[in-house]
Symmetry: C2
Subunit: 409 residues, 2 copies
């Protein structure tokens, strides 16, 4: 990743970049009194971009957001509810998503084709629109430009998540301070290719919508698409980015001297959010970070890293702090990628357990101690080429089963 | 599957077909006193065939068995140990597998290139060959042609399995009674494409090795390759079939009038073993049987059925008796197959829960009662074409996590 071209903003949030306010409140979609309706508003038209779930069944809000972004790549606001995914809800669901868009636009005083809509929660039930609408009416009064606004928004998008997920960096673009921030939710149904997660990026960089779209896609492939919690992908995932341009830098292009810094900063924000989602996976007690090097290509490394991180057996072994490298190499061997079966090294953190595909004696007590930590590294060197990738996941625990055995009830 | 062309033999086993004896004993590879070494012996040279794991890392016994079958497709015996997979054990492991083959051949008085070797258990540890060898010496005295011999063998191949898995059918081939039987093990690391399972088929049918190989592959794709427990595939899976020819039928060919009956009988045996493996999946409390019809092709139906049965979220919901069809349709949508998003029907058993991709009101109490049963059917109609497939799996439970959090210890 080279030298870090950005600085981390501790305590920053989606309202830190210039031009953004955010807020959240409880409108009654969740059974608890936690926030379930949130909004981000940009004070100027923002260049916008988005990536969506690859699931064939796409929820109504995605259709509406796609349409809005198709009108020139400009957004003023995004309205989000949790507690109900508005998915598999047919024509009424689509009408409800459009009503959310129109009502939010009216309440915020912006054009409705500049409002994105996102929903997350239970599939197949109609939204209680009376509650959504009365919540939308109260939202403008909740808008804040400080960290509280960001916090309220972050809380409003959570479902089974235990913690809010936020990241913020700043960098320099031709002498101007550019800030990039992001908020996300996601806990179950997390898998490569935008699985049950919502992500929202704000920045005050000046960048055109088409380039923002390209960069967002590239960065997503190295961050959100490299995590898995349970291999399931959802009907509702989306990542929306809005750039206010108020940092007043010369518009970013691929030739801009600080373009690499912007991309690296955006990658950092998205990777931090992705890791936070993995660590907060349903029932998880640990973050697992799998790095594959020496692969035939980056794509091969990605596929292998994701296969390891997606193995229920590997995930269970990590939960049990069991240095079971046999399951790791079995995952390497079934990833469908070129592997030289005689040259694989595996390390748990720094502890070498397999060298040239043969077991190496290691201190089980030291390995146990390492595996009991809250972050476990699985490092594989195929010793074939220069391809590399990192993927993130979590352990498989009793609580994952408990949470998912009765989600609807 | 049309009219049944075979009869089930209750209480039959791998020793039921003419010409086979089997046995098992405890040689000390398992910590408990359960059997861990087994053998099947055919009194005449048997036409033989096998299919193997697709995992790139293949255990030493697979190399040895492949070589044996390469010498003309004839086997006299198969020797199997549980408790240690002899995988990732390098040159010593290969030498050990060859020693198992040679020592078994000598003890049984057959040619060593007519002995197949199979192992299952922990990966990466060397076999305790002194124990294996002293067990092999005692094996001939344990050989029996009755059901006890089959039972002893079935027990010897188990690892975390809770129950022995056996199936037997008989059919008529030009007036002769032909019997087909099978035994299998498999509990974790079970996934399409021959994942951690061992299977052994015996038959007294007269059939050439090349045709037996073709039929075994075809039937495997409809049985063992349609089950998943956890999505992991192992380094050791194999299915070996031996045909003694002692039923004295005219040699089976694709034009033989009773060829279809033989294939159907073999399919039944393999499907019963596959279902038994799925039902006995690590920690499982239920068998899940997913049938997809109305798909664009059989291949599409297979992929969708396997995606549903492999979803941790679906598996957890079934464990919790939660009629969560949202997770089922999300799995349908991410299977990578053609789906008309507006025409999907989903039934839990006979209970319609989704029609034309829209939720249907159903009696939650009746659904709960159904989902509490020990077999749960998930039936999907895509209403697109005539492709269909059935896959089998099991629920994801606390016990799966418990078993796999500390398998080695």
């Amino acid at each position: 990743m080279g030298n870090q071209l950005y600085s981390i903003v501790e305590g920053g949030g989606v309202t830190t970049p210039k031009g953004f306010k955010a807020g959240g409140l409880h409108c009654g979609l969740k059974k608890t009194d936690r926030h379930d309706l949130g909004v981000i508003l940009c004070e100027v038209p923002a260049a916008a971009a988005a990536v969506y779930t690859t699931n064939l069944f796409q929820a109504a809000p995605l259709l509406v957001t796609r349409e809005a972004l198709g009108q020139g790549g400009i957004l003023r606001a995004v309205i989000v509810n949790s507690g109900n995914a508005n998915a598999c809800t047919g024509a009424q669901g689509e009408a409800d998503a459009r009503a959310m868009q129109a009502n939010a636009a009216e309440a915020l005083g912006v054009s409705k084709d500049q409002v994105a809509v996102a929903s997350t929660g239970v599939i197949g039930e109609l939204l209680k629109m009376d509650r959504v609408n009365s919540g939308i009416e109260k939202l403008p009064a909740k808008l804040r430009g400080d960290v509280q606004g960001s916090d309220d928004f972050c809380q409003a998008i959570l479902t089974t998540d235990l913690v809010k997920k936020v990241s913020c960096v700043t960098l320099n673009a031709d002498g101007r301070q550019v800030t990039i921030a992001g908020a996300a939710k996601g806990s179950g149904m997390i898998h490569p290719n935008m699985a049950t997660m919502l992500g929202f990026v704000t920045t005050d960089a000046r960048i055109g919508a088409p380039l923002l779209q390209e960069v967002l896609r590239e960065v997503t492939n190295l961050s959100f698409n490299m995590i898995t919690v349970d291999g399931d992908t959802s009907t509702n995932d989306m990542l929306v980015a809005m750039a206010s341009g108020l940092a007043d830098n010369t518009e970013l292009t691929r030739n801009h001297p600080d373009f690499a810094a912007f991309v690296d900063g955006l990658r950092h924000v998205c990777a931090e959010l992705a890791k936070a989602i993995a660590r907060d996976g349903e029932g998880a007690t640990k973050l697992i970070e799998t790095t594959v090097i020496g692969a035939a290509s980056d794509e091969a490394a990605q596929a292998i890293a994701k296969t390891i991180i997606g193995s229920s057996l590997v995930k269970s072994a990590v939960f049990g702090a069991d240095a079971n490298w046999g399951r790791i190499i079995a995952a390497v061997g079934r990833a469908g990628q070129p592997v030289n079966v005689g040259t694989v090294d595996i390390r748990l953190g720094d502890i070498l357990v397999l060298e040239q595909s043969r077991p190496v004696p290691f201190d089980e007590d030291i390995a146990l101690e390492y595996l009991k930590g809250d972050t476990v590294g699985i490092n594989v060197n195929l010793n074939m080429g220069s391809g590399q990738a990192t993927a993130w996941g979590c352990d498989l625990t009793y609580d994952y089963v408990r949470i998912n055995a009765a989600y609807r009830t």
